[in-house]
Symmetry: C2
Subunit: 137 residues, 2 copies
DNA sequence: TTCCTTATCAACAATGTTTGCAAACTAGCT
DNA sequence: AGCTAGTTTGCAAACATTGTTGATAAGGAA
């Protein structure tokens, strides 16, 4: 995602207002590779801004997702994870014990689909998910 | 998954009882490649057995999943999908329009992960998800 | 700076999926 | 037929997420 300063520009360019709440969410996500849930973002922001509501965090996360600044991931961990790394295409590794998510690069160029895809199906995204257990789980 | 008759044996062998409700769920899933939701299974079974409860369908689906007879899939479509094909390892294709799910075979043997996995991480499953739009969406 | 328009905030209610619970019931054994 | 442990059911609750609405604040213009 872009820096909080750049996001301020981009939000205004879209006619969206830049509030202290939104800036706090920007800062919580910038350079964050934890793939936090909405609730985790809320918890982090609420430390500095106890009056913010979970609803506002969801709203801002949805706005950022629509703008392509973050990725909304559904990894089967019960709640959505948000990924601030949209610069380089990558895949994910999920610990089934503690829910840890990590980015993983993979070379897809050699991938072959041996069965024919349904006629007319247009693939927009190829996603690889590695499930397993991390060292401490 | 195994046939309804074989499932009857396997449930009894585990000390689980075989009720008409469970048999109806067995039949609804056998040779079913629709990847239905719990609610879809319920709807299908309820046609023949209107008194069955959604709770019982969930219970039986969970039992079958624990026994490895079906797969519980979380594909980001809002609700879990159940896959009766556990015989051959495969991947999935999801239509983001209508929620259609189809099995896809893929050759993973050449897949290379260019970044190092976290030390001590044990991968138990490699899952490929193709998202896109089917012909009618 | 002040005003004004419009988007946003916060609290609450509502939705949808899945699970917990307790009482009534039944499969399968004797 | 009777016993008993496992099942079913209906309802409530948990959980993540979204809808709603009066009050509030941001940002542009004067």
């Amino acid at each position: 995602m872009h820096s909080p300063e750049e996001l301020t520009q981009r939000f205004r360019a879209r006619g969206l207002k830049v509030t202290p709440q939104r800036q706090a969410v920007f800062r919580a996500l910038f350079n964050n590779d934890m793939h936090p849930t909405a609730d985790a973002v809320y918890a982090q922001v609420a430390e500095q801004m106890p009056t913010i509501s979970l609803r506002t965090v969801y709203q801002t996360l949805n706005d950022l997702t629509e703008m392509g600044e973050i990725l909304h991931l559904e990894l089967g961990t019960g709640s959505a994870r948000f990924d601030a790394n949209v610069e380089q295409h990558h895949h994910h590794l999920v610990c089934e014990g503690c829910g840890l998510v990590r980015d993983v690069d993979a070379d897809l160029s050699s991938l072959q689909f041996s069965s024919v895809l349904p006629t007319g199906f247009r693939v927009s995204e190829t996603e690889i998910l590695l499930r397993g257990r991390c060292e401490s789980c």
